[in-house]
């Protein structure tokens, strides 16, 4: 399905309240554009200026009532298992982005400052959700993160630990394009392009279909529109590196090999059924999201990756 022109206009121009009335599936479709239509960095920055939203305008009081009165204990637990991966994921992508700024093209630097601000706002969005809806209390960002830590999958540390360590590689060698490519594959292709967009679809479809958590739906749909910019900027950068030297494709493959190997592990079961999903559907969603990102940068995977992809156990996280 493609998004019609009028829907695109509504997604492009909607304000925060408008995001609450936008269908999340349309926003997810809006991410994917053919390589030739990837917007320029300054165009993405201009979109940011128009689409920026204020996280403190959200009122979570109806969500709080839904959480305590309308949702079942089972659906609260499933929701927390999924949302906590995002709570931590947003903090990780916020805290790990800065070293990329040094060695990227000049126009991307301008856009990346807005990307960083978005991730900080997404971190605050989840902080507010856990305080105002789930009812966790504490000082500062880390207190709340520590309280939601027990809900995340243990294998979360796979992709996000890798991102932390690649960030340090980049801090030491900010102009090394192999490291930039490994970093962009982990951050923009896998964490944002596959994990985040998949998990957004699951929790937002749930909120939409069960008519619960309206402020969560509004803020997280706006977050998804922000992610569209991050992914498109990242795909443009990956494409640019490949145009400079097609041999960088090896860094994409090597990074995905490590990510997919880690994605074959899980230590506990997540029950998707209370949210209206099954594990097989989530797996198919992951594979679909990955192939769409690779199509955007014109990269294919060697046959050996097929089997790894079939072994993937979804990590429910994003950034």
């Amino acid at each position: 399905m493609t998004v019609t022109a009028s829907r695109i206009d509504r997604i492009e121009a909607g304000d925060l309240q408008g995001m609450g009335r936008t269908d999340i599936d349309d926003v997810l479709d809006y991410v994917h554009v053919p390589t030739a239509h990837l917007p320029g960095y300054l165009e993405l920055y201009d979109r940011y200026l128009r689409q920026r939203w204020n996280v403190n305008e959200l009122d979570f009081s109806v969500d709080r009532a839904d959480w305590t009165d309308r949702m079942t204990e089972e659906s609260r637990q499933s929701f927390l298992a999924i949302a906590s991966g995002f709570h931590h994921g947003e903090r990780q992508v916020e805290a790990e982005l800065a070293p990329l700024l040094f060695g990227i093209p000049e126009d991307y630097k301008v856009f990346l400052t807005s990307h960083l601000e978005d991730e900080a706002r997404h971190t605050v969005f989840f902080d507010r959700f856990y305080r105002d809806v789930v009812g966790i209390q504490g000082d500062g960002i880390m207190d709340i993160l520590d309280a939601s830590w027990p809900y995340i999958q243990e294998t979360f540390v796979g992709p996000f630990g890798l991102l932390s360590y690649l960030t340090d590689d980049l801090r030491l060698h900010p102009y090394d394009k192999h490291i930039q490519m490994r970093y962009a594959t982990t951050y923009m292709i896998w964490i944002e392009g596959v994990l985040a967009l998949s998990v957004m679809k699951i929790t937002l479809n749930y909120a939409r279909d069960f008519k619960v958590l309206p402020a969560y739906y509004t803020g997280f749909t706006a977050t998804c529109r922000d992610e569209a910019r991050h992914v498109q900027g990242g795909m443009r950068f990956v494409r640019q590196l490949l145009d400079e030297d097609p041999a960088y494709v090896k860094d994409i493959h090597d990074t995905l090999r490590t990510l997919l190997t880690m994605a074959g592990a899980r230590s506990g079961i997540v029950y998707y059924e209370p949210l209206g999903w099954s594990e097989d559907r989530v797996k198919a969603l992951f594979a679909d999201q990955l192939s769409k990102k690779l199509a955007m940068v014109g990269v294919s995977l060697p046959p050996e990756f097929e089997e790894m992809l079939s072994m993937v156990k979804p990590t429910l996280a994003g950034g």
């Binding site: 990780q92 830590w149 243990e154 294998t155 979360f156 540390v157 796979g158 996000f160 630990g161 890798l162 932390s164 360590y165 690649l166 340090d168 590689d169 490994r182 090597d254 990074t255 090999r257 490590t258 190997t261 880690m262 074959g264 592990a265 899980r266 230590s267 506990g268 079961i269 156990k313």
Partner: protein, 152 residues
Amino acid sequence: MPGFMTTEWAESCMAAVNVWPPAERRSSKLQEFWEWIDAVRPTVHGRLALSVRDLPAGAGGDTLVFDFDAGKATSAAIVERAVADDTATFLLAGSYDDWRLMFGGYDVGKMVMYRKLMLEKGDTLEFFMAAFFWTELLAAIQTVPVELLVPA
């Protein structure tokens, strides 16, 4: 109780790593998690070094090293960082305070994710091919009783 960064402690750590996980931990996670670790085990060779950047004076060395053959630790020792820099495949290093935090029960996943321990030698993508083998190794070391040095 063996002292931190002593030969006796290194040997106790190796013993714990080689019999890991104990029954209780095994049953706390899906069997398939341990199967994943068993599947990567044969690929783990060479030397892992775990180093303290700012160890208070008085220890025999600041770095614990294990030699691995197909995921089994075949020797353990305490060496100086310079020796580990020359010989290790992977070297993780952290501050003494962060090591103490780990012995206090701090989550090993957070030790990695919040960069309490950094990979200061070795290829990052290769290291993460065995990610959960390494985090479980840290969890094993965490359980070995140890007498910490008192900072001067």
